[in-house]
Symmetry: C2
Subunit: 363 residues, 2 copies
């Protein structure tokens, strides 16, 4: 197997991973670390897996510069389960939290929070087609609010908070779609969570980073799995963890550390985004970004062509040239190029070259 | 990579998988099905993954002969999350369920059920050291009980229900540790669940098979992930599923179907168990099974040696001969040989040969 037959994968998630990581996983599939078995056949209590697990926890802490007063949890159920698990663990029954409806994901987080706790909407972008992130002055915050929930990047709309909002409240953030693509200012956050499957590894793993002093503060009676304390006190091995996803993420974290850490990945993602938005700008309106310039995502670059027919043709011809998963989400249409951490700059160059050529041919 | 350096893996879970499956996974790791990407880089909405997912659902139904009036759900959080999710979905607030405390897993299921609903213990084996499964006449069942929860096989104690109990109530079963090792009489069950990581695939996937007419019957307000209906109506793709685990399980299901289905695996597991228990019997008390003969597990064969020192020596010498993970669970000590679906009979022959030789040398 060579890498020659690999495509440029612009999928919104799960997403492309470093080839060197995939090669290691392949080479270890029948015999991991000399154990005579695959990692997916190993006991989670075995020393070989334990080392992988504890290193992944330590490497996540080191790479993301997570302070010691935060606990890092490896959980299952995706960000979707966190939509309920977060308020159940952070909000006492009489307390309430503010949510920002900035797109599909913010909406889902708010819906679940309302089902299990007191939560209100401090802003919605629905009337504006979710084309921008709000500024702090837009927020309708009530006194006594426990936290403000944000979605750092909306995958479908293609918008992000360029800076995390400055408010007199702790922030809680769903960072699924730009997790570890830029440094995190931990002082501002009570909790950060996200699925691994965009920037970090395979689907089936959610990472929760929570201020330790908050564990147990909701004083709710929670079943064992839903109580963060269960996982915190067992280093996320209270039950069998999603071992393969943790193992692959561990390799990705080491690859990121070796490449230069979060500052380097912030630089790379800005370079990818600049190239794409630059190509859109240079098209003089032939390609068009539907979102507010200040809110443009560095992960999910959404753009439109002069017609839906041209958009269809664009997706088909791009795929024929080995650039796949460029069709926009069915809710919004258009084109979406997702450019996560492991996507090589040469894939973006290939796409922007194609965009220029496609315009020249079809304009 | 040859298979020559593979060990005999007697792990209680996660556990050994068919080498042919691991080889396929290895060969597809950089390019799955000609897509130019790994399955772990694929969108869960992509046609190639969709086919894998829908085939896994169909193959599970076909292999386990699941009737059409049951829904099959692929979930995350393991059996541990089901300990709460089951009563939350099946029990209305005023209803109650009976639980059997047959060992560590039955105890955990009951503890969580009590936290989220009305539940009572219809029997406990604690006073007898969890050395047997109860008979129907042992049960203390209250009128109006909604279901009886059983653990079909207790991994740590090494006991199983040779026949599922006959009661005038629907059964709910945690089958994690003997899932699809024998046919299931669906008429008797309202719901069956289990983690995949014993007999079926990697950790990070739980399978729930639930009678469709019961979906939504608890009338509780549940958050999206915890409500089975969310997953049922989306073919378990309401959120990003644990794709890799489903993909590997799909291959294991096809391997099982090709090998002859559940009747064949019941026959194989009986053969493995007979060989091991037979060796114990033939030792004339040198090896000793601590559990009731009628309740002996066909998956986790637990036995003792004349002293703890000999047990330690046994584990060390077996490992030196390529037979690993034979140490009993820390709660009970002794030796535990877990012999799941994919464990080759020749591994059991190697172990029983070793047992005979070890006795001859050390008796």
């Amino acid at each position: 197997m060579t890498t020659a037959n690999r495509v440029h994968n612009f999928c919104a998630g799960p997403c492309t991973l470093p080839v060197s990581v995939l090669e290691e996983v392949r080479d270890e599939m029948l015999n991991f670390g000399g154990t005579g078995m695959s990692i997916i056949e190993s006991s989670h209590r075995a020393p070989a897996y334990d080392a992988v697990h504890m290193e992944a926890l330590a490497d996540f802490r080191s790479l993301a510069q997570v302070p010691e007063d935060f606990s890092i949890l490896f959980l299952q159920g995706g960000a979707s389960l966190q939509f309920a698990q977060v308020p159940l663990n952070l909000l006492a029954p009489q307390e309430s939290a503010a949510y920002l409806t900035t797109g599909t994901w913010g909406k889902k987080a708010f819906a679940d929070a309302q089902l299990v706790s007191e939560a209100y909407q401090a802003w919605t972008g629905a009337d504006e087609g979710f084309a921008r992130m709000p500024s702090t002055s837009d927020f309708d915050l009530h006194p006594g609010t426990r936290y403000l929930h944000i979605t750092s990047n909306e995958t479908i709309g293609g918008i992000r908070f360029p800076e995390y909002p400055t408010v007199d409240l702790p922030l809680v953030a769903d960072m699924s779609s730009d997790f570890l693509s830029r440094p995190i200012d931990w002082d501002r956050f009570d909790l950060v969570y996200g699925g691994a499957q965009k920037n970090l590894g395979p689907a089936g793993l959610a990472i929760v980073v929570v201020r330790k002093e908050l564990l147990g503060r909701s004083e709710r009676t929670l079943n064992s799995y839903m109580d963060y304390r269960t996982h915190d006190k067992a280093d996320s091995m209270a039950n069998t963890p999603p071992m393969f996803a943790i193992y692959v993420m561990g390799k990705v974290l080491k690859w990121m550390q070796a490449a230069g850490g979060l500052e380097e990945f912030e630089r790379r993602s800005a370079a990818r985004a600049d190239l794409l938005y630059g190509t859109i700008e240079q098209s003089e309106g032939w390609y068009r970004s539907p979102v507010d310039a200040a809110s443009r995502s560095h992960m999910n670059i959404v753009f439109r062509l002069p017609s839906e027919d041209l958009e269809k043709q664009f997706v088909v011809e791009a795929a024929a040239s080995g650039m796949v998963n460029l069709k926009g989400h069915r809710d919004v249409g258009g084109i979406r190029a997702s450019v996560y951490n492991a996507l090589d700059q040469q894939s973006v160059v290939a796409l922007t070259d194609f965009m220029t050529e496609f315009q020249a041919t079809n304009a």
